[in-house]
């Protein structure tokens, strides 16, 4: 059953004006440029992309932490962007977010207990701080501590406990383990998986690291320059990536195996600015696909089902030549 449905989400930021506001306005930054997906209840969608791909903006706009430019988000049939403030607040209890940086996302002047009580008070709920701490693997003694007394991993556990305190159904996890060391990262990833199983949570898991996503996601969507370029069940996308960008991204992940014999696809050039996306396929200036043609420079490829449909169906790619070998 679909819990969250995102339809043609668009978020543009007004371009900066040069010359202290007197000059011509720059073109808008198309951070998110028509993104659609849905997440079934209890499942995890991994949203992957590099800096500037728009993945974080998708997560924040879905929760209306930023106002969208266009598009629709349905949460159990509620139109999130059409709600009045009171109903939005009520809905926010059911959709929460865990931020990337556990150093800046906790108030340094509040104890752990105060941090965890605040959302409960806002929503008029009762909750046990000790039980919450226990659920995220922290001793009850942490309640009296301040963030500076905690390690990065402990802070992130507090951030998770804060999100869970109001008993949400849906949690946006925005790069929740990127700032953590590998041994602690594994602890927090396992914790998120355990909590999901225990509380039947639905996750949007935003990350730049395809290897991390593999350990938590059921489905994966890859973003490039504000658009989803490929989406598939996780096992499928890792085994049979179809979009040249996904293939390059996968081949660039450093593998902890000195005898790895993967073929590396090293992309040339940088990601173009989202204020000046290339015409046609946004990836075409860097695309290493042998079939790359004039069509790629002029005609934007639609996100479409691979033909013939892969078993299981639901493997989409936005490439004119997704079926051709690379």
């Amino acid at each position: 059953m679909t819990l969250v449905d995102v339809r043609q989400l668009v978020k543009h930021y007004a371009g900066a004006r040069s010359w202290f506001g007197l000059g011509r306005a720059q073109p808008p930054v198309r951070a998110v440029d028509g993104v659609s997906f849905s997440i079934a209840s209890g499942r995890t969608l991994g949203l992957v992309g590099e800096s500037g791909s728009g993945k974080t903006t998708v997560g924040r706009t879905m929760l209306r932490l930023q106002e969208p430019t266009a598009g629709k988000v349905l949460f159990e049939e509620n139109d999130v962007f059409a709600l009045d403030p009171a109903r939005l607040r009520a809905l926010r209890r059911r959709m929460q977010i865990v931020f990337q940086d556990p150093y800046s996302s906790l108030n340094p002047r509040m104890t752990v207990e105060e941090t965890l009580r605040e959302p409960l008070q806002i929503h008029g709920l009762r909750g046990e701080v000790a039980a919450l701490l226990d659920e995220v693997g922290l001793d009850a003694a942490f309640a009296k501590r301040y963030p500076h007394e905690l390690s990065g991993g402990q802070r992130q556990r507090v951030g998770i406990a804060r999100a869970l305190s109001v008993e949400p159904q849906f949690v946006v996890c925005d790069e929740p383990v990127s700032a953590l060391d590998v041994s602690v990262q594994a602890q927090v990833l396992n914790l998120l998986a355990d909590l999901q199983a225990r509380r039947r949570l639905t996750y949007l898991f935003i990350a730049h690291d395809l290897a991390v996503v593999r350990h938590i996601a059921d489905d994966v969507a890859v973003m490039y320059l504000g658009k989803i370029v490929e989406r598939a069940p996780a096992a499928e996308i890792y085994a049979q990536p179809r979009h040249p960008y996904t293939r390059a991204l996968l081949s660039a992940v450093p593998e902890p195996n000195p005898r790895a014999t993967r073929r590396r696809i090293v992309l040339t050039g940088d990601v173009p600015s989202p204020a000046h996306p290339p015409p046609g396929c946004p990836f075409h200036p860097r695309c290493p696909h042998p079939r790359k043609s004039e069509r790629c420079r002029t005609e934007p490829p639609a996100l479409r089902e691979i033909t013939p449909p892969a078993p299981p169906p639901g493997h989409l790619a936005a490439c004119h030549y997704a079926e051709e070998p690379m």
Binding site: V182, Q185, A211, H215, A235, P254, E255, N257
Partner: protein, 339 residues
């Protein structure tokens, strides 16, 4: 890299301590670290935050701010037969940036925003090699071309803010290599970069190392980066070297439980099946002001026994060229079957 080749850089019993803010304690950030770097090789130093890898690299070039830091007497950093720690400042400056160069993690903050990239690359060539301004500028253009920056004649007059993160890291590399150093210290050179840009920079470093024949000290938290680019690896934990081996050997037969744990904790794209649970090392790296007694990994170790509480293990050789600081090397029967 054979036993007969003398090491280019020898680090012996390096101890770098910091007096903490309120004078309450001493952080033993680097505590008796020893390793050798041979000509032409890439030596990886891996470890998590707080293990002492960056302090080690800064100590080599004496870039530790004093106070609060100090390198203890008895430490030795020998480069081509000279102890860098005993070198007078002018002689040290002749080595630093000239024969031993360094690139840092943050290409955004390591470049001066008010000078063109050409000026910044040329500076070292003017100081160390006494080139004229014109010759140094020509050298800067040549270096930009070497590191793969398109239109170097034009880019040489650009300021850092006009370049992307990947381009800035290329400029950093050009700056470091302008005097053709014998040793390049690369401290997390790709950590701030996206994975496709990281792949470009690592490939560039590999190519330049082959072309210029320099030795590289590659400091990283990423075992994947080490696996693909280092000849040998030093694993650090809690201010100490806990394991040293050739890269293949380390990944195939890790001896130290920390190395084993770290390898098992790395998320993998080739893992089967998807959503596989990761192995996690319990607990966290302790504070440098209060390292545990005995073996510093003991509180997190699945194999620890009473000896580990009282006797700090020594670096023992488990195989030729493979050492680990763990009592299991000499008492392998103590290894717990399950992990």
């Amino acid at each position: 890299m054979t036993a007969e080749t003398p090491a280019l850089l020898r680090v012996r019993d390096l101890k770098t301590y910091f007096v903490t803010e309120h004078g309450k304690g001493t952080a033993r950030a680097v505590d008796e670290v020893s390793f050798d770097l041979y000509p032409g090789e890439t030596l990886g130093i891996v470890g998590e935050s707080g293990c002492g890898k960056t302090v080690t690299s800064l100590s080599i070039l004496r870039l530790i701010p004093e106070p609060p830091g100090h390198i203890l007497p008895g430490s030795l950093i020998e480069f081509e037969g000279r102890n860098l720690l005993a070198l007078p400042a002018p002689e040290l400056r002749a080595v630093r940036g000239n024969q031993i160069a360094m690139i840092f993690q943050e290409p955004m903050t390591s470049l001066n925003p008010v000078f063109t990239v050409g000026d910044q690359i040329a500076e070292a060539a003017i100081i160390h090699q006494h080139l004229s301004r014109a010759a140094a500028r020509a050298r800067a253009i040549e270096m930009l071309r070497l590191v793969g920056i398109p239109d170097p004649e034009e880019r040489v007059d650009h300021y850092p803010h006009q370049l992307s993160g990947g381009m800035r890291q290329r400029v950093m590399i050009a700056m470091a290599l302008v005097c053709h150093p014998k040793v390049l210290i690369a401290d997390e050179p790709t950590t701030a970069l996206d994975v496709t840009i990281q792949a470009q920079i690592l490939e560039l470093l590999d190519r330049l190392q082959q072309e210029l024949g320099m030795a590289v000290l590659l400091i990283t938290h990423d075992l994947g980066v080490v696996a693909g680019h280092a000849d040998r690896v030093v694993v650090m934990y809690a201010g100490r070297v806990v394991e040293t081996a050739k890269t293949d050997e380390l990944f195939e037969h890790p001896l130290h439980p920390y190395t084993e744990g770290l390898l098992a904790a790395v998320p993998r794209i080739d893992a089967l099946p998807a959503r596989a649970r990761l192995h996690a090392i319990p607990g966290q790296v302790p504070a440098a002001t209060a390292w545990p007694t005995g073996c510093r990994f003991r509180p997190r170790c699945p194999h620890a026994w009473d000896k580990c509480l009282t006797e700090p293990p020594l670096l023992e050789s488990g195989a030729p060229g493979h050492t680990a600081r763990c009592w299991l090397v000499t008492e392998p029967e103590r290894r717990q079957a399950s992990r």
